[in-house]
Amino acid sequence: MALTSPLDAERIRADFPLLGREVHGKPIIYLDSAATSQKPNAVLDAMDLYYRTINSNVHRGVYQIAEQATNELEAAREKVRAFINASSVAEVIFTKNATESLNLLVQSWGRANLVEGDVVLLSHMEHHANIVPWHMLVAERGIQLRWIPLTADGQLDLTDLDALVEGAKVLSVTAMSNVLGTINSVRTLTDAARAVGAISIIDGCQSVPHTSTDVQALGADFLAFSGHKLLGPTGIGVLWGREELLAEMPPFIGGGEMIRDVRLDGFTCNDLPWKFEAGTPAIAEIIGLGAAIDYLSAIGIDNVRAHERMLTEYTLRTLSMRFGDDIVIHGPTEPEHRGGVFSFAFKDLHPHDISQVLDEHAVCVRAGHHCAKPLMKLMGVGATARASVYLYNTTADIDALGDALEAAGSFFAF
């Protein structure tokens, strides 16, 4: 069966300067987009143009370039709003990254609303960013954590969802696993949460860059994601929340920008979304994120998903055809249920040793626990090697991965 994609990945690659470089004298094969994506010229140029032509602080200047910078920043907010179909820009808060978005929620909403004994429902496949902030609240408040278990093929086991969610105040779950690639049925989860009066938080770090997101259809109350996995720069993340909830929440970090008035005896908060944006924002990064969203939208996020589905099918098929029982790819076996993230075990080689040999072949994959140690423990491994794809990857990249794996196999052959 021939595999088809709506994208011309070769042409897309030309927009990403880093993909044109070599390492160890060979063209780079970048297979680590789940950690961070590469950046197109459009993003680099937008940030460069900001610094070269309108660099100034936002929201307070009356002179022309300050007004331009402010307009550009707020235009980027509108692009994010449209990209996730939020109902208002007041619901789009800029943070440093998804980790900060989740910490903001725990520190602001969590501390205002949770008391000893309250239950927060997480899953066994969460990233540490959606575990540790809750552990911190366990230590401070004595809240309780419950965990949605996984099936053998790495999907959420929702058999006992009703019992698990019963009495919970919060459900906080990833939409796509950064280790297994599993795409979770978010709507089932948020419906179950709403039925018991719990709020739901979705970690969209892996899903937002690769699949279309409509926060109004998700049924969630909050969504967190990072710009750098979405073709944007580092240092910029997003927290989306329903306006009624955000309006009730106390501020997280205090300082300039987030206030309406400051007196010797206190302060009043600014309106949303600025209430949660203390201090000078990451202006260039926000503008860069806006450019990234323009770039992705022009290509079409559904086309990105279709391309990655094709690559997923190709990867699962070729690697198992080539290596048979020597390779185990963790997670769901159906491309329908997973994104382009492939954690694998190869022969009895340690992930570090695999990735070291792969590096020699200019193939960039990640080795480690991927900030998901509870999941690693459940899988019974200390670490995995992980390859992950994006819109600029091709079947040739997967073939190169296969060739490099073969080389690793013979290098360590006993």
Partner: protein, 156 residues
Amino acid sequence: MPGLEDLYREIILDHYRNPRNRGELESPPAQRVEGFNPLCGDEIVVYLELDDDERISDIRIGGQGCSISQSSASMMSAAVKGHTVAEVGDLTRAFKGMMSIHESSLGGESTEPEDLPDVKLGDLEALRGVVKFPVRIKCATLAWNTLAQAIDEASA
């Protein structure tokens, strides 16, 4: 440009495939200490027995990890067995010196490369190439840090 053969010397692969002193000792009396590399999840367990003269009378290594961490642990176990705590301290400083780690950067006494203890590293020399792969230095030193902790606890 350092190549794979700088890192994976034959003797390293040999220790990886046939680890020395692999196993467990009953604890107590043996001291049992676990070491983790938080970056990659590698884990080393050192079982240590000291005799009355502060000499390592027996050592066993458990845990799981990459070829560098496991072979470094294997070579270390062979190198320290039968030696006194003081000798092992010198060997550890010499090994870490080879890894470009000097105690001053760890908050201890300053040890400039030129006044490193004059000890023979033997097989351990094979790990010299690891310095060229900075992310792997932690793999090579994991066993040594775990041993140091085991010695501290055993002599406490």
